[in-house]
């Protein structure tokens, strides 16, 4: 098993370093900075500490889970919103654990709150609610995409008042969806864009939400690992090696005793 040497930039005495795991001594460099980097991008904190294998493992696992969640239910499974009738922000608290990859949602929420059009082709933008004012250009572009490829159809955004640059959302689509069960479950908010996503992606929207949330929560463990080292202070691998060493020693002692006994036996017989 390879030994990780103390890094020269570690100013901590040996006794202050984290307990050994797998028979190794670790230098966590600047643990606070490592924890921040681990939050910013999964695995980055470990790469900064020179723990490359674990850094790559965490990056692949957590970003893979996050990306798979988005692939299942579109980028809209991640959004930040604290509006009445749209209380999914507690999901976002979990998703924000992955750091930078979930940050576009905050920018989009800020844009939508200011009645501006979301950026980046609506990536991680919150859903449009009934009565919400949106920029007229953006609304027309959404209606031009159509219900088949997008989420809105003709007549979904109407002018209200004298502001020509603003349109208001009001659902003008069919009352019932293709699947009758959809209406039963989502009848109370079927005109909300969120319910359109649910109808379009079905259970995959919930799965996508779950995957992205799990990715964020797993990264909390990774942040802790970057800050304080492996959770297991007990050196299990070392214990196993020590157990085998002691067994081998005991076996050697037994053989030695047997050999001595055998050597004594003919001497006693002669005497």
């Amino acid at each position: 098993m390879s030994q990780v040497p103390y890094l020269p930039d570690s100013n901590k005495p040996e006794s202050d370093l984290p307990p050994p795991a797998d028979g190794l001594k670790l230098s966590l460099k600047n643990p606070g900075l490592a924890a921040f980097l681990a939050w910013l991008l999964p695995g980055l904190g470990h790469m900064y500490q020179g723990r490359w294998a674990k850094g790559v493992l965490f990056f692949v696992c957590i970003m893979g889970t996050f990306a798979y969640g988005i692939a299942l239910g579109s980028s809209r499974v991640v959004y930040a919103s604290m509006r009445p009738y749209d209380t999914r922000y507690y999901y976002y608290i979990c998703q924000a654990g992955v750091g930078l990859p979930a940050m576009p949602a905050l920018i989009q929420a800020w844009r939508v709150r200011g009645e501006k059009a979301p950026w980046w082709n609506n990536w991680m933008a919150p859903p449009v609610l009934i009565g919400q004012a949106v920029p007229a250009d953006w609304a027309r572009a959404q209606m031009a995409i159509g219900r088949d490829d997008g989420y809105f159809g003709d007549g979904d955004f109407l002018q209200r008042g004298n502001d020509p640059d603003k349109l208001w959302y009001h659902y003008s689509g069919p009352e019932t969806q293709e699947r009758p069960s959809f209406e039963i479950q989502h009848n109370e908010f079927k005109q909300n864009e969120l319910s359109i996503w649910h109808a379009k992606y079905s259970f995959k929207y919930d799965l996508g939400t779950t995957f992205t949330m799990v990715a964020g929560l797993l990264n909390l463990l990774v942040i802790f690992d970057a800050y304080a080292g492996p959770m297991l202070g007990v050196n299990l691998a070392g214990w196993e090696a020590e157990r085998k060493r002691r067994e081998a020693l005991a076996e050697r002692e037994r053989e030695e005793k047997k050999r001595l006994k055998a050597a004594k036996a003919p001497t006693q017989a002669t005497a």
């Binding site: 098993m1 990780v4 795991a21 797998d22 028979g23 190794l24 670790l26 723990r51 294998a53 674990k54 493992l57 965490f58 696992c61 957590i62 893979g64 889970t65 798979y68 299942l72 259970f203 799965l207 779950t210 995957f211 799990v214 990715a215 797993l218 463990l221 990774v222 802790f224 690992d225 080292g229 492996p230 959770m231 297991l232 299990l236 691998a237």
Partner: protein, 64 residues
């Protein structure tokens, strides 16, 4: 029959279980062989426990 209608949805648990066991083990050990060994053990535990739970719930709802 209702169970089999949703069987394909169970497969989504597999990548999630693999990821969770790998990351969890990664935060307990430092060396890759130990991580992989512990991860495999966690995966078997997770799968086994879920299977036991499934059998128990199936038994409870057998007559429903």
């Amino acid at each position: 029959m209702l169970l089999f209608a949703h069987t394909t949805q169970f497969w989504y648990c597999v990548p999630l279980a693999i990821t969770v066991s790998l990351v969890y083990s990664g935060t307990r050990f430092e060396e890759m062989p130990s991580i992989l060994r512990h991860s495999l053990r966690s995966l078997v535990w997770m799968g086994g426990f879920s299977a036991l739970l499934f059998v128990f719930l199936r038994w409870l709802t057998w007559s429903l």
